[in-house]
């Protein structure tokens, strides 16, 4: 409620500044101009949204699969954890923007390099949170499971994997916020469509309202993905939203 009020206030200020200050549309379009672009270019925006949404969703799915698998491997092998974890952290310092053109050279103009870039950006928070989730099972719980006769695999199946599920989804929620940016960079590096491609064309053509409209659509995409993940978390792991220790 408060967020909506603040948003409207900022929007109003922007509108006032853009109109009263007589700022050119290609420098800073008023929100109403952006709104008009959203409406006028709706077909164009929709087509390109579908492309980018596909990249973000599939890239995130790829990141979830690879990230969770890697987290499980690191969890089961302390040796691997010691060897790989520092490299993983270091890999996050690689500026993906500069690597993106290389990936285009390797994988071509299709969707593949985009998926790889989105996944590269998204998988790190997923690995970290999933690993934390796997390790969140208390030693007491493990002792209990051992006396109940559970094997290592059964401890994973019954305790660790369910504990890691909401954690992995939390990681995905963090990742999806940057996933859209990754998709745009990937499209900058070489593409024929997508919201990034649209931005890349609109800005030099001084179609600034259209560029802003693309940004709005991109933001809406991130919010939708986030909301869907939050919903999935609620449905798949309802226990994660409850207090752990009710009063006896």
């Amino acid at each position: 409620m408060l967020a909506a009020l603040l948003f409207l206030l900022l929007l109003g200020a922007w509108e006032l500044y853009a109109r009263a200050g007589n700022v050119d549309d290609f420098i800073l379009p008023a929100p109403t101009e952006v709104g008009r672009a959203l409406y006028d270019d709706r077909g164009l925006l929709w087509d390109n949204l579908l492309v980018t949404a596909q990249e973000v969703v599939l890239g995130l799915a790829l990141a979830l699969v690879v990230g969770a698998a890697l987290a499980i491997a690191l969890h089961f092998s302390p040796l691997l954890r010691r060897a790989v974890y520092p490299l993983l952290v270091g890999s996050q310092a690689i500026p993906i923007v500069t690597v993106a053109p290389l990936l285009v050279v390797w994988f071509g103009y299709g969707i593949l390099p985009k998926l790889v870039i989105v996944a590269l950006v998204c998988f790190f928070p997923i690995v970290v949170t999933t690993l934390d989730g796997l390790r969140s099972v208390e030693p007491e719980q493990h002792k209990l499971l051992r006396t109940l006769g559970a094997s290592r695999w059964q401890a994973f199946r019954w305790a660790e994997a369910p504990a890691a599920l909401p954690a992995a989804l939390s990681g995905a929620k963090i990742a999806v916020a940057v996933g859209g940016i990754a998709a745009v960079f990937a499209e900058y590096a070489g593409s024929e469509d997508g919201l990034g491609h649209l931005l890349l064309q609109a800005i030099p053509q001084l179609e600034t309202p259209r560029a802003w409209a693309a940004v709005v659509v991109l933001a809406a995409l991130a919010v939708c993905c986030f909301a869907l993940l939050a919903l999935a978390e609620r449905r798949l792991a309802p226990w994660a939203h409850r207090r752990k220790d009710p009063i006896p």
């Binding site: 208390e138 007491e140 719980q141 002792k143 209990l144 499971l145 051992r146 006396t147 109940l148 006769g149 559970a150 059964q154 019954w158 305790a159 369910p162 792991a237 309802p238 226990w239 409850r242 207090r243 752990k244 009710p246 009063i247 006896p248």
Partner: protein
């Protein structure tokens, strides 16, 4: 009714007085700390032995030795298969009450439907009829301990190691569960090692109360309780046993023998 409920208890039973748990001169150290020092303790089949002591007397270590989670540094531990019931229930929040109770059966490879059916009957036994589908976070602390106990029973082990099972509960719920545990054990007798720092709880529930001194844990007293269960906390013998145990604790330097603090203890 109990016959189709209880999990098959393993192994031949040579004689009723055969010790099912036997610790002989057991010493366990953690670095510079001696948790247990030359502890000898026996529990006969279906005997309820309470182990009392202040924090730091190695009570939890003792249970882990019996459960095979640790090995002694000296002495010997011989025990039939034992299952741990930890102080904090450690129920899995992603399973309902029934699923948690059925967990040991599932771990033994019993199919889901059959495991749940057996757990269903046992949950009724422990007074949780109607709560089978309840999520863990919907249950009260006392109910959770009952589910945890049902889970412990369904493991089908002859020895139950209860580590402060009622330590985190309020006094009223605790007294209620004392009566309840007495009833359940009358129907489904097992060998029980009950670790507690509540001397009264020990005197009410146990056939024998073993008092441990703090750091290092040594047996400083063994008190038999003859009054048949259920016995009220006000029974003469319970009061007398409680007094003797408290004396022994005080003599051993136990600072909080009768204290009912809910906190856990390390090791």
């Amino acid at each position: 009714m109990a016959t189709d409920l209880e999990a098959p208890v393993e192994g031949p039973r040579p004689g009723a007085d055969e010790a099912e748990v036997e610790l002989l001169g057991v010493t366990r150290t953690f670095g510079p700390v001696t948790a247990l020092d030359g502890v000898t303790l026996r529990a006969a089949r279906h005997e309820v032995v309470a182990v009392v002591g202040a924090s730091g007397s190695g009570k939890s270590t003792l249970l882990e030795l019996v459960c095979g989670l640790q090995a002694p540094d000296a002495g010997s531990v011989r025990a039939a298969r034992a299952v741990l019931m930890p102080q904090r229930d450690q129920l899995l929040p992603w399973l309902d009450a029934l699923g948690n109770a059925a967990l040991p059966l599932r771990l033994q490879g019993v199919g889901k439907a059959q495991a749940r059916e057996r757990a269903h009957a046992l949950l009724r036994e422990v007074g949780l009829a109607g709560f089978e589908r309840a999520k863990v976070y919907e249950l009260s602390g006392g109910m959770r301990q009952r589910v945890a106990f049902a889970r412990t029973l369904l493991a089908g082990a002859p020895v139950l190691c209860l580590d402060e099972p009622f330590g985190a509960l309020d006094a009223i719920t605790r007294a209620e569960l004392h009566g309840w545990l007495t009833e359940v054990l009358a129907r489904e007798p097992r060998t029980v090692l009950l670790v507690t720092h509540d001397v009264e709880e020990a005197a009410v529930l146990a056939d024998r109360v073993v008092v441990l001194s703090p750091r290092p844990g040594r047996v400083v007293a063994e008190i038999a309780v003859e009054t048949p269960r259920p016995r009220p906390a006000t029974a003469d013998e319970v009061v007398a046993v409680r007094a003797r145990a408290l004396e022994a604790l005080a003599a051993a330097g136990g600072e909080a023998g009768g204290a009912r603090e809910a906190g856990g203890e390390p090791g």
